[in-house]
């Protein structure tokens, strides 16, 4: 607890110092970097320790406001979410110092203040034990991240994205406020402990509270259909900020939802089914939309929607386990969800940083304009590959471990058919299978088109490998991905206390836990065997080829005499079969000019996939709202006297009301 607060102090101090020293660019950057790393190390150690031990600490201080209290606490759930905040926050800061090296010093100084502010407010969201404090931190988090999104505010598209983000986060906040009002009504307190002690709500009111939490926190997490801000805001922000926002910040939405579940107490089974439904829809649509994107950062943003869907599947299974009294199912489901929270932060952070390096080196984020970068940027490419394999859920990396837990939970639910609907486990198994397959398709596309083959267009400048400050952060994240993937039993043990306390605190039977750890040990053994085999075969291959003729030649062109780099497969052509099957679902628009006549000269093919929910739901809705609001426009006339009159009239009305009621 003390260490976590200490790292907050370091972050606040570092952010302010970087802001003050903004005039001296170099010094400001070093201060920002050093404070983030120091706080990151301190905080990560504290968080991992707290998650492992599962102790609960809390602290209350004097609070000047009439409502709420300064009540912070650290339990296993908060600790699991704190790990990525500190870890990714620190490495992304180091990366950011290199990424922003050529930015305007003043703007950069301001952005460091916002960056450190974002980290601190995320920490406070996670440790707040009072709804007023929570909402304050929540709002700070929204504002600081908004500031970071509009870093490049000269660009019109960036401003638009920032605006969209600001609106959607506040709509979410409105639902969150309503949730806290409802949950705190019975106890009449804003304190979490008091809320958890007695919500005293009827079943129906509990359901409403759950839905409010789902919408409010879901807007931050990015569940479909309230995900629309993600693909706009994440590409607009600088890459180290995207890594933190997409990897870590959206998880505060998941945290909020989980905390809400803890506050509300025993769940109804339908909550689990709703979560699984939301998870499958988010997962499948997220990955399909990702597949259709041409901008790599937009694509990664849609993949966050997919991964949030997988997390929702885990939560759903956990809820079903609690509702049907199967402790192991609850523990495995929640553990899968929580571990995926950590895992997604690691590999999504890694991928966003990698995409940023590519953008930094080539000046474009359009996948179809790139190619052959693995030769120019071998380290960035190799690290990006680790992230790509991890997000596709492939062993021996971390994505597989958490997806395995969710699968296993679905299987347990399947075996217990009767107490849990078979459709739930079917949706998880089939949905996760489809999501996994499509994610692999999507990331072979991203990596294959960006890093392999020949450059599809001449670069504006020759791409150069990034410096150590950009590579080292990626290497840390990549190493973490491998470690969790190989040490699956330890990873499970790390999130177990949190998973158990989400599930109501009752520990599953020790023998069932031991058998599940045995399974994870089996995975570890198998992936180690795989690694040994790869090494042996690679060695054997090298020995075989040692004294033989090894030549190079052009790629086999199937007899065509004059191939050009423009004839290579593009991202759009790679995704085409999948888009043809699912395109009507996504509303993909094709602009095609096919070659005609006996001597065709030119043809063109362009595919565009706009977000259907944005275009069909939100834009028409908000246009209607705006039109309705315009009728009230006469109230806002711009004359100061009038406004003062409003204030006076309101005050008078309140006095009269008070006089009559009292």
């Amino acid at each position: 607890m003390t260490l976590v607060l200490l790292s907050c102090v370091i972050l606040v101090g570092g952010g302010l110092a970087a802001f003050v020293a903004a005039g001296n660019g170099r010094r400001s950057f070093r201060v920002a970097e050093a404070s983030a790393v120091l706080a990151g190390v301190t905080g990560t150690v504290a968080a991992v320790h707290a998650a492992w031990c599962g102790n609960t600490r809390s602290l209350q201080l004097a609070w000047p406001l009439p409502i709420g209290s300064f009540h912070v606490g650290l339990d296993a759930i908060s600790a699991v979410f704190l790990v990525p905040v500190f870890l990714v926050g620190a490495v992304a800061a180091v990366y950011g110092t290199a990424y922003l090296a050529h930015a305007d010093a003043k703007t950069a100084g301001r952005s460091w203040l916002a960056y450190h502010g974002l980290l601190v407010s995320m920490v406070f969201v996670l440790i707040a034990r009072d709804s007023v404090l929570f909402l304050l931190a929540w709002e700070c988090m929204a504002l600081t991240s908004f500031r970071l999104v509009v870093f490049d505010s000269s660009d019109d598209r960036v401003r638009k994205a920032g605006w969209l983000y600001l609106v959607s986060t506040h709509i979410g906040t409105a639902a969150v406020i309503l949730f806290f009002l409802l949950a705190g009504r019975a106890s009449g307190s804003t304190d979490f402990d008091a809320m958890a002690a007695g919500t005293g709500l009827s079943q129906a009111a509990m359901g409403v509270a759950f839905l409010l939490a789902l919408v409010g926190f879901g807007a931050k997490a990015g569940f479909v259909p309230v995900h629309v801000w993600l693909p706009e805001a994440h590409p607009a922000a600088p890459s180290h900020v995207s890594a933190v926002m997409s990897g870590v910040m959206i998880k505060t939405g998941i945290y909020g939802l989980i905390r809400a579940l803890v506050l509300l107490g025993p769940p109804a089974p339908w909550w689990g089914y709703v979560m699984i439904g939301v998870g499958v829809v988010s997962g499948v649509l997220g990955v399909l939309y990702a597949m259709a994107q041409h901008d790599v950062k937009r694509l990664l943003a849609y993949h966050s929607v997919e991964n949030i869907g997988i997390i929702a599947l885990g939560i759903g299974l956990g809820l079903l386990g609690v509702a049907s009294g199967q402790q192991l199912l609850a523990a495995v489901g929640f553990a899968g969800a929580l571990l995926h929270v950590v895992n997604h932060a690691l590999f999504k952070g890694l991928l966003f940083l990698g995409a940023g390096s590519v953008y930094h080196a080539t000046g474009t984020r359009q996948i179809d304009r790139l190619g052959g970068l693995l030769k120019e940027m071998p380290w960035t490419g190799a690290l990006f590959l680790i992230g790509a394999a991890a997000i596709s859920g492939l062993p021996p990396l971390n994505g597989f471990v958490s997806e395995f837990m969710v699968y296993y939970g679905a299987w347990m639910a399947c075996m217990q058919a009767g107490s849990v609907s078979i459709w739930a486990s079917l949706a998880v198994v089939a949905g996760l299978g489809l999501i996994g397959g499509l994610a692999a398709a999507c990331f072979t596309k991203v990596f294959g088109i960006m890093f392999l083959g020949e450059p599809r267009e001449p670069h504006d400048r020759p791409a150069r490998e990034s410096g150590l400050r950009m590579l080292a952060p990626m290497a840390v994240l990549g190493a973490a991905c491998v470690l969790i993937g190989v040490l699956a039993p330890l990873a499970f043990r790390l999130v177990l206390p949190a998973a158990v306390s989400v599930g109501g605190g009752s520990m599953p039977a020790p023998e069932s836990l031991a058998s599940f750890s045995g399974i994870l040990k089996g995975i570890t053994g198998t992936v180690l065997l795989l690694a040994v085999l790869i090494a042996c075969i690679a060695l054997a291959r090298r020995c075989l080829l040692r004294n033989r003729v090894v030549r190079t030649a052009g790629t086999w062109d199937c007899g065509y005499a004059a191939p050009t780099v423009r004839m290579q497969y593009t991202a759009a052509s790679y995704a085409h079969p999948i888009m043809r099957l699912f395109g009507s679902l996504l509303g993909t628009k094709v602009h095609a000019r096919l070659p005609e006549g006996l001597f065709p000269s030119k043809g063109a093919w362009h595919e565009e996939t706009d977000d259907l929910f944005m275009a069909r739901w939100f834009v028409p809705l908000f246009v209607k709202v705006r039109n309705a609001m315009q009728r009230l426009g006469w109230i806002q006339h711009g004359r100061l006297q009038g406004y003062i009159l409003y204030v006076a009239l309101t005050l008078l009305a309140l006095i009269i009301w008070y006089a009559f009621t009292a």
Binding site: L374, K375, L385, A389, S392, G393, L394, P395, F400, F404, Y408, A410, W411, C414, M415, A417, I422, L426, V429, A430, G433, L434, G436, G437, A440, A441, T444, K445, F447, G448, L452, G453, E454, G518, I519, G522, I523, G525, T526, L529, L530, L533, C536, I537, A538, R541, L544, L545, R548, V549, R551, A553, T555, C558, Q568, Y569, Y574, A575, P577, R580
Partner: protein, 310 residues
Amino acid sequence: MKLMSIAHLFLALLAAPLLLGVLNRCKAVFAGRKGQPLCQLYFDVWKLLRKGAVYSRTTTWLVAAGPVIGLAVVLTGLVLTPAGQTPALIRFSGDLILLAYVLGLMRFFTVLAALDTGSSFEGMGASREVFYAALAEPAFLTGLAALSCLAGEFSMSALSGTASLQTWSASGPVYLLVLAAWFVVMLAENARVPFDDPNTHLELTMIHEVMVLDHGGPDFAVIQYAASLKLWIYGSLLVGMMFPFPSGSPVLASLVFAGGMVLVAVLIGVLESVTARLRIVRTPELLLGAFALSLVALLLAVSAGGAHVG
């Protein structure tokens, strides 16, 4: 038991290429040809292993990593796969998910090795491969869910070899449906007709063959051998999980297993002789059909299993 597992592992390593020989012989008989020797693949692999290599100037280390990782994956897969009543060397509850995902790792790197060459033909093959795989996965996993609900087990080794004439008479429809679904999945994953034609000579229409166009020498030998082992893995799953096995004698069970494997090869050979490749736009329907079969199987298995337990 452990000795039997090791013996079966070596049997797979030695006999997997023979399976393709049987398959090709079957096709030759159907076409009225004499056909290539049964051991043709052994000769091919041996010849390729003694050659040098030619690499494209476009490629990086990934083009060499593809075959290496592919072979390592199928070898790991073999260690996880039971052979009839003989359990696998590594077995735990949920091992089939690991198997499905390590095979995914093989696909991931095969596809990247193909894209590494920058050839549009190989890109085309890669694109189709990942497309089929994404649709085949749900069918495969749902079928597995059906079988494990039926038996109340979630480990391949525990499931394998439990089918008998009694279980068939009790829940034949489930077995039949999963058998059909998995057969389709096996054809898709192993690049057989009607998804892909291993005999085609036009790069435009190939899938698996076109992805490995730029591999030669020992790399190509490894690819060929790994492909035969992959077919062996899918064959073992099909035979082990659904073939009715006699109880009691391990030797007899091994013979039944070997017979089942030959039967699978013959079945594929017959199918390839009597059907043509499907148009690529039609293949998703086949895979979705396989998913539907698995789904029905799961529902049947749950109602049956519920009656069992309850």
